[in-house]
């Protein structure tokens, strides 16, 4: 950090750090009103654009409400020297946040957990046999965090992989769901995530109807899980349509 003074003084954000709202009791949550006025089953409008970063082999920018993400794909390129020979390709994922991604200024560091979850969500979809001995790097940067960050990163990464021409079985679409009291809300924003009692995220390949990753947090009964999975899978297949059309736009655009 570079400042005029040698010693950096400690600072604080003038906005209140703890949300002043009283902790939400179970009663008030019976009728959860979504802060952005959406219905429980309504996703935010999704926007994808490929080719956001020219320096990369492929890239994509995704915007879901306030969640904004850029993913760059590099390679296939030479694996690190220390890596042993492998007759299938390697996938290397990294997720970082900008310092201004969150309302309170963060450290802008890498997110280890998201990096490993991104890897797990994608590895089943990529045909690793097509690039033996080499590595494909998938790097994501969250410009602004507005909730459901990980699903947006995963969907955006699969569009970026397609843009880079990496062979995949299918696009990977990801959708998450929050459980607030008795309500299930799809594609939650940050505020909803901070109150959630449980969450569920599905990443899937809609054309093959296969789940590549599923995580559940919090207490759920079996019927609840089944309902949430069905809703998420349905949303995933719709999301995949949007992702596919964003890829087609580029191709038809370049032909003109």
């Amino acid at each position: 950090m570079t400042t005029k003074h040698s010693a950096v003084p400690t600072t604080y954000s003038p906005s209140p750090t703890s949300r002043s709202k009283p902790s939400v009791s179970k009663d008030s949550i019976v009728d959860w009103v979504r802060p952005d006025g959406r219905g429980y089953r309504q996703c935010r409008p999704a926007f994808f654009r490929t080719g956001a970063v020219n320096a990369a082999s492929g890239s994509a920018y995704a915007e879901f409400g306030n969640t904004k993400v850029i993913v760059s794909v590099f390679g296939p390129r030479e694996s690190k020297k220390a890596m042993m020979y492998s007759d299938v390709g390697r996938l290397n994922c990294n997720v970082g946040f900008t310092t201004f991604a969150t309302p309170i200024r963060g450290q802008g560091s890498d997110h280890k957990e998201f990096s490993s979850l991104l890897h797990k969500a994608l590895e089943g979809a990529i045909i690793l046999e097509t690039f033996p001995k080499t590595t494909v790097d998938v790097f994501a940067l969250v410009l602004e965090s507005g909730g459901s960050d990980l699903p947006v990163i995963i969907s955006c990464a699969s569009v970026a992989l397609a843009d880079a021409g990496i062979m995949m079985y299918d696009l990977v679409a990801a959708v998450s769901m929050s459980c607030l009291g008795k309500n299930l809300v799809i594609d939650p924003i940050t505020e909803e995530e901070s109150y959630q009692d449980g969450s569920l995220m599905i990443t899937c390949m809609p054309s093959r109807y296969e789940v590549t990753q599923l995580t559940v947090i919090g207490e759920w009964s079996t019927p609840e899980i089944n309902e949430a999975m069905e809703l998420c899978l349905d949303a995933c297949s719709k999301l995949a349509e949007i992702m596919r059309s964003s890829l087609k736009e580029v191709v038809s655009g370049s032909q003109e």
Partner: protein
């Protein structure tokens, strides 16, 4: 044997010049194998591979307010080099020596997404260099009067955290970073705050604004920062007698001598960097660079003014 191959390629290049554009692959191969000779041939014709004259900078755009979670932000693009700058305002206790001054902390980041040369965990070498140049330039230019960042003398002042992220690296990183930084400052909206009973500065929420604004707010009149003598820069690459303005990453890697000139809006020299390189610049060359910068800052000033007026219309 290697020489022979080179000759062969050159002879293959010749028919290209005389109108036969059939073998594009050979041009590509020549560019990769002998990048310097490839460039020198272009330079001899006073043209660059991307069809620019030597002194022309790439298309430049500025968009303000790209980040909603920041107090001020801007996205600047020069060619494909893209920079996202955002300012977050936090409160600090000013130092004893300078009780009436705020502070600006500037950091330049090169995340792994921006270039194939940057890998996670292995930060780019140039990032801290650009970071230092930026903060030296911005603080020494006198663009911002740090006294304006004071809130309560000796008690509280603003600390402006300016973070610049390189989203796409294609040469002239400093120019784009400085442009995005300056634009972010011109977009900066300082939040209205008040001093609470504990001696802490708190944000006034929108609902409270009407009633409490008069007695509560400590900075009612200082919502915008006045920017005087804004610095702009132009980076040039020197090769033999040629000066190439606003180089791409490829040009920077092939011809290693770089000169960056920073002038402020009244054409005063703020800083000048020539970090080594194989070409020793004559003073006349440096004067040429300054002259190019002088032309360039007029363009940049217009681009910034347009972005600002575009925001005001909205």
């Amino acid at each position: 044997m290697f020489c022979g191959k080179e000759d062969k390629l050159e002879t293959m290049e010749l028919p290209n010049d005389s109108g036969d554009l059939g073998s594009e692959m050979e041009v590509d191969a020549f560019r990769r194998l002998f990048p310097l000779r490839f460039y020198e041939r272009h330079l001899a014709e006073s043209i660059r591979p991307d069809a620019r004259p030597l002194s022309r900078a790439r298309d430049t755009t500025v968009a303000l307010g790209a980040v909603a979670s920041a107090n001020g932000s801007a996205l600047a693009k020069i060619g494909s080099t893209t920079m996202l700058a955002a300012i977050k305002m936090e409160v600090m206790t000013p130092s004893v020596e300078l009780p009436d001054e705020g502070c600006i902390a500037i950091e330049f980041h090169m995340p792994p997404i921006c270039s194939p040369l940057v890998r996670p965990g292995r930060p780019a070498e140039v990032a801290p260099v650009v970071s230092k140049q930026l903060s030296d330039t911005i603080l020494s230019s006198g663009m911002i009067n740090l006294k304006e960042l004071s809130l309560v003398s000796g008690k509280a002042a603003w600390m402006a955290y300016l973070d610049i992220y390189c989203l796409d690296a294609d040469g002239a990183l400093f120019d784009a970073a400085l442009l995005s930084a300056v634009a972010a400052f011109s977009h900066l909206q300082i939040p209205v705050v008040s001093l609470n009973d504990d001696g802490k500065i708190v944000m006034l929420s929108e609902e409270q604004d009407d009633g409490n604004l008069d007695k509560g707010a400590v900075n009612k009149e200082k919502r915008k920062i006045a920017l005087s003598s804004i610095p702009f820069s132009l980076t040039c690459v020197l090769h033999k007698n040629y000066i190439l303005a606003d180089p791409t990453a490829e040009e920077e890697s092939i011809m290693e001598t770089v000169v960056t000139v920073v002038l402020d809006s009244s054409n005063q020299l703020v800083s000048l960097y020539k970090p080594g390189g194989p070409v020793l610049a004559r003073t006349s060359v440096l004067q040429d660079c300054v002259a190019l910068t002088r032309q360039r800052i007029k363009e940049l000033q217009n681009i910034l003014d347009e972005a600002i007026s575009g925001m005001e219309v909205d």
